[in-house]
Symmetry: C2
């Protein structure tokens, strides 16, 4: 199944307790597309870059089945740039620089071949841009997923709520779910958000895993599933982990084209597995060197991590 991915393609400078890298490839759409490319090779990317972006990375994406017809390249301009420094716990970070550059007036234009996708992943971006992408679709996708962040809750809440109304699946972190709803209990926050439009909610908790909430469209029953994060010896660089999680999840869904609760669970575990690889190296490095057997091996690791028999046999 085809997958439309919208989001940033960018440069990051990152400092973690393990080291420092300057001007490396980053961006939500980059991480999402790379993670999803292990499951589907019909990915259509929508984004904008300057003329400073490495051709090698673009070639890598093309090789991995990512269509770049929807990637605008602005001559004489610079790509979006973010610099951040992680604290020792790797769960919190300071943003040092945010240079919007080409992103400042980004107006996504979907090529004709992009307008009937089966699956859509709206990476974190201005809600108005996310909405403009949905406006250009000619047919209803099987699933529209979106990611967002607290910044838009603070600065563009009305536009954000308008987009949330139009999607099937929202991914958001725990603090953002609390901010969006005013509820501390994540179960209460989930009920609140599932009344805003989406019938599927994924609450990301970083090193503490992720929760999946599905509201059955028929009987309105709430189903809950929990996928842990893999306990790792070292988390090298958490940048892009949330986007990689979303990419693994939506890529698996696009591959399997099955939106049952059982398959959504698997998709969550695939997302967690991809995120667990992402953090093992800086930037996108780890995501360009995986293969299916290694991914399946980690899926088995997740199964073993949580599996128990109720009774002593």
């Amino acid at each position: 199944m085809s997958l439309l991915v919208v989001g940033t393609v960018a440069f990051d400078s990152i400092e973690t307790p393990y080291g420092k890298v300057d001007q490396v490839v980053g961006g939500a759409a980059t991480y999402i597309s790379l993670a999803a490319s292990y499951f589907t090779n019909q990915i259509k990317l929508v984004s904008v870059i300057g003329d400073d972006f490495p051709q090698e990375t673009l070639n890598d994406l093309t090789r991995r089945g990512v269509d770049l017809k929807g990637l605008q390249v602005r001559e004489g301009e610079k790509s979006f740039f973010w610099a951040g420094k992680y604290h020792n716990d790797l769960n919190t970070r300071d943003t040092l620089v945010t240079d919007l550059n080409v992103l400042a007036d980004f107006d996504p234009v979907l090529p004709d071949s992009y307008r009937n996708p089966d699956y859509v992943m709206l990476g974190n971006l201005t809600p108005a841009v996310q909405a403009r992408v949905l406006d250009q679709l000619n047919s209803k996708p099987n699933l529209v997923a979106m990611d967002t962040m607290n910044f838009w809750m603070d600065h563009a809440l009305d536009e954000l709520l308008d987009v949330i109304k139009r999607v099937d699946l929202l991914t958001i972190n725990d603090e953002e779910a609390r901010q969006l709803t005013g509820e501390y209990s994540l179960v209460k926050a989930a009920k609140h958000i599932l009344a805003m439009g989406p019938n599927i909610l994924v609450i990301k908790k970083g090193e503490h895993g992720a929760l999946l909430f599905l509201k059955d469209r028929d009987d309105q029953e709430l189903h809950i599933f929990y996928a842990p994060a893999m306990p790792l010896m070292d988390v090298f660089d958490p940048t892009g982990a949330g986007d990689t999680f979303a990419g693994g999840m939506i890529g698996y869904l696009a591959q399997s084209d099955d939106l049952s609760f059982d398959n959504l669970k698997r998709a969550l575990v695939y997302g967690s597995a991809m995120a667990s690889f992402c953090v093992e190296k800086f930037s996108i490095e780890r995501l360009t060197e995986l293969d299916v057997p290694r991914i399946l091996d980690r899926i088995e690791g997740f199964r073993r991590l949580v599996h128990f028999e109720k009774e002593n046999k």
Copy 2:
């Protein structure tokens, strides 16, 4: 199998966003014994109270199979008292009052009938008191578990390390594991702690669940299991949740008398289930009104929460 429980039997005054209660029954040994009493009725309690403790609670404990021969009652003195106020997130709290009272010079004396227990749970207490209990045992138990907290790392580290050396299983929260080892990664912290004496470590992460680490005595291999916390609509009062977790876990182990990794996993889930009940009401209330079918039902809830099939069938 018999279970020796050492810890506080006390009064708490608690304020949470859901309400306030004054001078209610609390204490690590109370929560541990009540939780364990759903699995074994051969519990031997070691603690100290003043003459102000409600006879009704003592009768309840006796009725539930808890032997109180090792509970010292000091005439004219007051029981240990703790007052705390939880923040809105219920994950952090301020201690308002700590009145040691009878606990200040507590010297545990084990009756003869207590000196050959099959299982031992050393609740959080001065490490020197935990050690004095172990000193009085006449035979090696099948398993000695202990709980502790950061206070002893700050004020009695040498004594603490001496007791840790003597136990098989340590329970500790994530921040304490990091403090004790200087490692941020919980996997690294676990390896460090499993070189201090215990071969089983349980890292409690509150609303984020608990991790079990088992170091195989033969091949030194590290086995990891993760049990989530049950996502709840309301966490009414987290007081005693950690002790209840430990009580459910050790109670299940004492009942099943099986220290295989598979059974330790189940024990962790039983502990999580008991803790998920504990927080639903103030003080020990919820722990006095459960029954086995309700507990088994929640165990099934935990299984469903994390269970997934690796492949679409």
